[in-house]
Symmetry: C2
Subunit: 456 residues, 2 copies
Amino acid sequence: MQPLNAARLYVQTVASNSPARLALLAFLSVIAVFTLLLALPISSANNEFTALHDALFTAVSAVCVTGLTVVSTADHWSFWGQVFISLGVFIGGLGILTIAALLSLAVSKKLGVRGKLMAQSSMSTTASGTLGEVRSLLKIVITTSVIIQLALMLVLTPRFVVLGESVPTALWHGMFYAISAFNNAGFTPHSNGLVPYEMDLYILIPLMVGVFIGSLGFPVILVLLQFKGVFSKWNLHTKITIIGSFALVVIGAMGWGLLEWNNVRTIGGMATGDKIVHAIFASIMTRSGGFNLVDQAYMETNTMLATDALMFVGGGSASTAGGIKITTLAVLFLAIFAEARGERDVKAFGRTIPEGTLRVAISVVVLGATLVATACGLIMMLTPASLDRVLFESISAFATVGLSTNLSAELPPAGKYILAALMFAGRIGTITLASALSLKQRDQLYRYPEERPIIG
Amino acid sequence: MQPLNAARLYVQTVASNSPARLALLAFLSVIAVFTLLLALPISSANNEFTALHDALFTAVSAVCVTGLTVVSTADHWSFWGQVFISLGVFIGGLGILTIAALLSLAVSKKLGVRGKLMAQSSMSTTASGTLGEVRSLLKIVITTSVIIQLALMLVLTPRFVVLGESVPTALWHGMFYAISAFNNAGFTPHSNGLVPYEMDLYILIPLMVGVFIGSLGFPVILVLLQFKGVFSKWNLHTKITIIGSFALVVIGAMGWGLLEWNNVRTIGGMATGDKIVHAIFASIMTRSGGFNLVDQAYMETNTMLATDALMFVGGGSASTAGGIKITTLAVLFLAIFAEARGERDVKAFGRTIPEGTLRVAISVVVLGATLVATACGLIMMLTPASLDRVLFESISAFATVGLSTNLSAELPPAGKYILAALMFAGRIGTITLASALSLKQRDQLYRYPEERPIIG
Ligand SMILES: [K+]
Ligand SMILES: [K+]
């Protein structure tokens, strides 16, 4: 019992000193376990060990709900390999703070005050602050997550049966797609992905709904469960996330559709209705779902750039989606809007957004852009691929989207590790990462006088 | 006298209602005059009219102190054409608010209170607030500018004589380079640019010094004139700008040198000393000078990306350099640093930077990035050129740098107009632009309660 007690003590100490660092460690442990599982012969179709860089990349891609692949999910992995991938996606989709809270409860039976606050903020904006609620919050989050994924599975499975699959296969595929969709993972168990279903709305609509709900985030889902469609009762975070999500879906679909309308390598030759379905599907998937109907390498360069922008924004905070998040973008735009109008406060829906919020938002964006730029630079040294492809793959990794022009598979191991690091940093969140790595947080005892430099 | 009185009344009204809009109009007028002058046969070497898009592009490039060209400065333009270009550069280098203040004083003999405040802030951070000082401030700015350019000319001219030019030619070239350097314009009157002087430190050092001083900005230059090297007496703006400038020169030179060290198409075949000179020169010129020793199209893609980043940052506020400005970058980094350490205030050199400053900084960066991205997207539709070249030329235009892979000259007229618009917006500054275009600035009578969305 001595080592277990030591581990318990260690977790307790880290949890009370730095919950962010605990979350980081918990997440790393989960990835290590799945890397090991995927490297074993039982996970591969040909019953051999998988190379470490490929196993690690796939484990990171699964647990960080990204969906980038270096080997074919359908062909390289055995049934068990695919089970591990979807289990990794399910666990990863809960979010790193939820995982950390679970681990912390399991090992030490209690959470520190700061850990409880962090865990709460990752699951709900409405938690009243009584710390005892974390356990029940955890239960609600996991229950909700499971119920939505079961519902998706129950819709998808009959369709696969109708399309000719055996009932066990259809159940398996239904479950795999349900987990992949709600958790915004974008893995597909079919070797040619979703292409055979590109006109099949019985498949596409559940996938779009699942991805969209997952991308809203647990804090929003819990508010919706509590207050339904009564807009006035929603909190500010929910209002911004929902309106921002719909706006981005519409803008993305219009942009994608217009840019690709006459591109014969993608949707140029289709009927108008099919073009519209493709545009809406692409728009929803771009902000983190990662499923694709058309070959991303065949898109116009401008479509790739627009996709880059949408991927970088991503979905809701504490969701299964990645990116800098919708509220971050919204706060930036509201601040710029207020600045241009010469207003003192940044406002939205009759609320003032505190000044400190903007500082967090800009930190998220700049750190994210810096990570992507650095990774791009490093990858450019490893491959003759063009900048637009490298940028696309890097942003796709950082924003845990999983759309790809297949560059991941072409890169040497060093490039795969860089992309894996991007996925990891993107899923953890740059702020959590920075606060986990910072040595200590100082309390401020005095303030300096103010002085304003000229800006711009 | 009736029309003149009407014009005077109009200028007075605009100046008191929106100094930003007046500045915009003044700047547009200057560009219109130079477009006309350059389109005339007297300006071209072959004595014919120059196409409007080429005349406009060159006028914008000169007055916005950019240095991008669509026709060879040495071959296409006559002596008078080159005189107009350097006159445009000299006027443009004073800055749009200085131009507006001059115009306003010339036409209406007085400045409104808001106009005086704006003009002051564009020239000095130390102005005590007595509005009568604007006239003397204008005198100081113009005198300083002329003296520095004369000094550069006096250093450069003897060297051109030594290199075999006649005295009048050497005087003319000395003046042209002096104006081009201090105003960070990057135009060269020689058909093969600076390449013949690439090892000539008697030419290169004055150019680097001139560009560097110009890129600090008048508010910093005035503080340096007043307090010399006594660091403790400098204001916050000067401290940040000077330290930031030196840091960026060093980082840029190291980065550029390392990335190009073995590139035989640029500096790979040179002696170590020459490589270092080239790296330092490139680093200084990248943040807005725009002179180049090596063919920019021959650089590694990663060097182009690093150059993109340095160009986007640019020089000091209210300087002859462009970009988002050093203080803007510094405020963002200080804010992120404070956020990561969990500190309440953003601090530098014993001063707290006011919260509102961050909002301005983020507006500058996001508006700039949006402009560049939009222009890139539009230009991609007009040319088969690769993304890295289009991005390079767009950022070079926005940040009024003038480094080029020669894409400007290859583009159809529509592309030239887009780049001209970018140079214009970049030189005016996104904030001035936004405030000139905004309909009215509202005073706020009440505040909403605060509510904090989840960020990141
Ligand atoms: K994904
Ligand atoms: K320039």
